[in-house]
């Protein structure tokens, strides 16, 4: 799942560690989300959207279906 989390983080001058602390996960999880190696739970996606004061769709883009 594509995400613009790194851009959002950069815009807020926020490290992965700081964001992880803010939403209650490890830095490795934020890193995995940003590298498209882990899709967050709905709960975490809401936490992230809430933190950045935006909608989940503003942070994550579902994979494009070729069919």
């Amino acid at each position: 799942m594509d995400t613009n989390l790194p851009k959002r983080r950069a815009a807020n001058d926020l490290s992965q560690e700081a964001l992880a602390d803010a939403v209650g996960v490890t830095r490795q999880t934020i890193n995995a989300i940003e590298r498209d190696r882990y899709d967050p739970s709905l709960e975490l996606a809401f936490e992230l959207a809430d933190y950045f004061d935006c909608r989940i769709e503003d942070l994550f883009e579902p994979p494009v279906d070729d069919e």
Partner: protein
């Protein structure tokens, strides 16, 4: 909460990577101790090291995430564990489905003899899958 704990524990509980590394190493030392005890004909000493390692490792694995102010385990760790467990069950199932009926057939044809040890393994794996089925039912219905 960590104020009441000793410094080494605080250090381990401060970072998820350090926490995992320490817990895995304690388990590894326990298991290595068991094999060393067997290899050097000191089974009691090996068993004591094994018990100490597994109990200490399990205790730290269970307690530290609860007492640490840092997030040591999160949803991704749990997802990784679930996937690894699922993969292990699937691999075991494939091996069992492939090997056990073949063993029965070869035994019936008197080409191989299923030894007591092999029967023990078959019973243990059968018991494991029975347990897995029970867990599947419980999680599906009650969780």
């Amino acid at each position: 909460m960590l104020d009441t704990l000793h410094s080494p524990v605080e250090t381990v509980a401060a970072s998820p990577q350090r926490y995992k590394r320490v817990v895995y190493w304690i388990f590894a030392v326990g298991i290595a101790g068991l094999f060393a005890g067997i290899a050097f004909d000191q089974p009691l000493a090996g068993t004591i090291i094994y018990l100490a390692g597994t109990w200490l490792g399990s205790g730290l694995a269970a307690v530290l995430p609860r007492v640490s102010e840092a997030t040591l385990i999160d949803e991704r760790d749990r997802a990784v564990h679930r996937r690894a467990s699922g993969l292990a069950v699937n691999v075991t199932a494939v091996v069992v489905i492939t090997v056990v009926p073949a063993l029965y057939a070869l035994s019936a044809a008197e080409i191989v003899t299923i030894t007591q040890t092999m029967w023990g393994g078959i019973w243990a794996i059968s018991a494991f899958f029975l347990l897995w089925g029970g867990c599947l039912f419980y999680v599906d219905r009650f969780q």
